[in-house]
Symmetry: C2
Amino acid sequence: MGNHFNKEFVKGASFEQLHKLCDEMRERIFTTVSECGGHLSSNLGAVELTVALYRVFDFPKDKIVFDVGHQCYPHKLLSGRAERFSTLRKEGGLSGFPKRSESEFDCYDTGHAGTAVSAALGIAKARDLKGEDFSVIAFVGDGSFNNGLVYEALNSLKILNAPILVILNDNGMSIAPTVGGTHDILSEMNGAGGGKNVALFEQFGIQYLGLYDGNNVEESIHALEKAKGLLKNGSVLLHVHTKKGYGYAFCENAPDVTHGISPTKNVKDEEYSTALGEELTTLAQKNGRIVVITAAMTDSLGLRGFFDKFPERSFDVGICEEHASVLCAAMATEGLKPYYAIYSTFLQRAYDEIIHDVCGQNLPVTFCIDRAGITGADGETHHGVFDLSYLALIPNLTVAIPSCISEFRAMIKWSETFEKPLAIRYPRSGKAVEIEISPIEYGKFDVLHSSMSDITVIAAGERPLSFAKNVLAKRQKEGKDFTLINARFLKPLDEALLSSVSSKYVITIEDNVEIGGLGAAINRFYLNQGKIIRNFAYHDAFIPHGGIVSLSEKFGVSEAEIDEYLEEIYARG
Amino acid sequence: MGNHFNKEFVKGASFEQLHKLCDEMRERIFTTVSECGGHLSSNLGAVELTVALYRVFDFPKDKIVFDVGHQCYPHKLLSGRAERFSTLRKEGGLSGFPKRSESEFDCYDTGHAGTAVSAALGIAKARDLKGEDFSVIAFVGDGSFNNGLVYEALNSLKILNAPILVILNDNGMSIAPTVGGTHDILSEMNGAGGGKNVALFEQFGIQYLGLYDGNNVEESIHALEKAKGLLKNGSVLLHVHTKKGYGYAFCENAPDVTHGISPTKNVKDEEYSTALGEELTTLAQKNGRIVVITAAMTDSLGLRGFFDKFPERSFDVGICEEHASVLCAAMATEGLKPYYAIYSTFLQRAYDEIIHDVCGQNLPVTFCIDRAGITGADGETHHGVFDLSYLALIPNLTVAIPSCISEFRAMIKWSETFEKPLAIRYPRSGKAVEIEISPIEYGKFDVLHSSMSDITVIAAGERPLSFAKNVLAKRQKEGKDFTLINARFLKPLDEALLSSVSSKYVITIEDNVEIGGLGAAINRFYLNQGKIIRNFAYHDAFIPHGGIVSLSEKFGVSEAEIDEYLEEIYARG
């Protein structure tokens, strides 16, 4: 099985053979994702369409850009990576996203939404300038069609005048069901009134072709051949309907839950998102000012309960991170108290709006930034290791970092009374603690352990602090010691506390890149004070996919290295 | 004249009186902008429409959000600020943009494009949640309708279901003529085929009303009254045509040149943009890989000549900063050598794409970042004082900072052979030097003056270095000295050179915020080496509008303070 997972087979196979191939691919994807984790339903839904693409086009001469990349597994299976497919998302194994470094069949790296049409246009324009001849395809889900970047690319179709094929893979969902005006337009195309709405795309200068059944391999081949023919007249938008999770009843029925699968779950850990949803729900019961905004991530951010309970104060605006930020700022100008929950890596999309709209106007918007630090199997495009640095430099912004779920709950409670821009960033999962935590105060650190030692460790965030705590426990058994401070705020720093630190050695630990984060702030604070400082932070590099602890160690934040450095200091006496 | 520059007059005036008022307002704007500088043609074109708005709506109870804000002067004149209008854009005077802190008539601060529809929606939703009753208006130019953020907001109209009035002020231009598919759609609406294209907006769930002559005050009043009536059925898009520069023939004929007016010009200074255009043109003559991309800024970035000479390799994609970044990345994957010229403050819009698309794939895209540092009269939203910090933290990115126009030319020449992501950031204007500058080498600083002194000054950028040079010249006359280093690269640092610095005192100077820039990098490099370091950089604050040198002094980078600090060191012996 799987020996015909290659383009040559697809080119020569009978339709019956293709059906069998699709079944085998689907099974391989299901088996692998069950073991390795990954994106399940979106890939199951894209099998037939991908097979059809391989039948009609000639990859890698022809080029395909997958938007986001949650639907590229069938492509990986057919492009010489079937044998390595069992290494999917494992450290050193295949990436879950397209990667130029992995295969010549991957022409453009993705991971964030909305880039594919722009990228395909750029590739096509380069092709035309170089006088080459090949087809360029953007494979885009309907969820991404909410994203402004797609419209910026559509606006450029006439400017660039470089024909591309945009496949709109319409399954009615991103991670969550697709929302908003664009979705309604696409939905109407499914019905009798389709013709009217075709205008939306044709007005941008793209030939519309649809609607086809993307889970029917013959129909998909037919549609792609037709589209290919039309490319000589200019760009084509091929509208295809697929069923997310196609072929597996429980995936079809719960495509959101089966969007992303985690291979193993640490049962001792809890999700920060659960705490977020619970705390905001409690606050919102008494405080009518509170509203919650997400960008197509309601469930994975723990907000389903809040959305169900307060539908009129809950807004999922689709994959529109910039718009969500401005919306929050504007609501805050009218006295509301918006909480914008988002993954760390996607917040990069709203960077200008954080600066220009929220902080520039000094408005009480709270950014709840999930998936901070190394996130593991999704790799380069999904780690949240830049946020402390890019947030710290923004005037008017307060940056808080909880060290456990209990502290996170306390910070959310505290945030209710804080009337300025606030960012709270936290990893996906962690622990709640039994002990009572000290009250959250603006800009105040928490001294977890005082000592007479000449060493102070300042750590921020759950993992860095857990490393520090482990090392402390180990060292205490040897009769050694150090002071341990939980840097609850990166900004403002607790200057009073830092000024009172008399130890000669200061160690900082954070789950963020080494340029511009906690270490940089502490270095600056202690400038010219004669302290010996060591920063543990991630190296200045894009971190690939892998295990969280293993990657953390490889890229500069390792319990063993911290312990080793302490050993050095202890050895000096 | 001007005594009836207030809303009460507008409410009660006859049409004849309104015409006279418009003439007076236009004259006041012209006179003031001629003296203070500012945005001329866009404001001249918006006079009648603004008067009509004041007639039909009741500000500040009703609320208006100006997209970008280049058309808010008539609004300022009618909202109690006529008397202070002569202070426009002067330090301590009126801002050239809407500012909540300036007047209750300004409900939302703007400066960057595309935010108004989102902001209006947020305000309207808050209104509905609070059970209040007022109208919310987004006043948007057609240039902004290229921006993806506007589509993200349109996609939300049905989700938020909070009626707003969007005025599409269509003058066919942003700073440059508007380009792309959206523009064609809008243009067609001007003609007989209009009805067909109305669909674009109605599909998003907004009632279309147009096309009206926005330079005709009666017609505008009529249109706004009609629009106001329709608001009870949901959101309305009112499409109005205006003439940029209306009323002044030379503005109407050259609306791009008269878009922004500088009050005085330092004749000794040259523009970096001129050098950019010339150097790229020279390179492109021999190197067919070079392409140039801008986001609606061709002229102000000095690229008109390049665009004229190489139209097939020049792309103005409209106000689509994100898309432009992805386009560059994609073209680079195909072997082209893209140069993306943009203002520092607008590059914030493309932050995720710099990380995710360009640097994540380690592609040879060169960002030519103009208007870095304090830019002066435009204020908070237009200074380029964050870029060194937010760029330094991105892996794979090289950051270069020329100290004069001659060095900038050399850097552009050098960049041709550099095959990785590169950012070159520079101010608007500066000086060319007569002397030959030393060759640009990757990551190498330039020692401008060596000394046996115990002080080394490391400065980056033209203004910081000019301060340092002035202080040096002054001190040398007194027989004192220090070593002066031009930090041509923020990243990578010239570690070899820095390691060879034996002086005890190190001073850094940059025209960037104090968190995360050059100072932070030098602090980190010299960690634990016993040096006494002092960073001169801008305070952690949003810097208002004013004079460049004056603001620089107020916010932490002052020649006098640098000199004073040196005095302290010299005094220690």
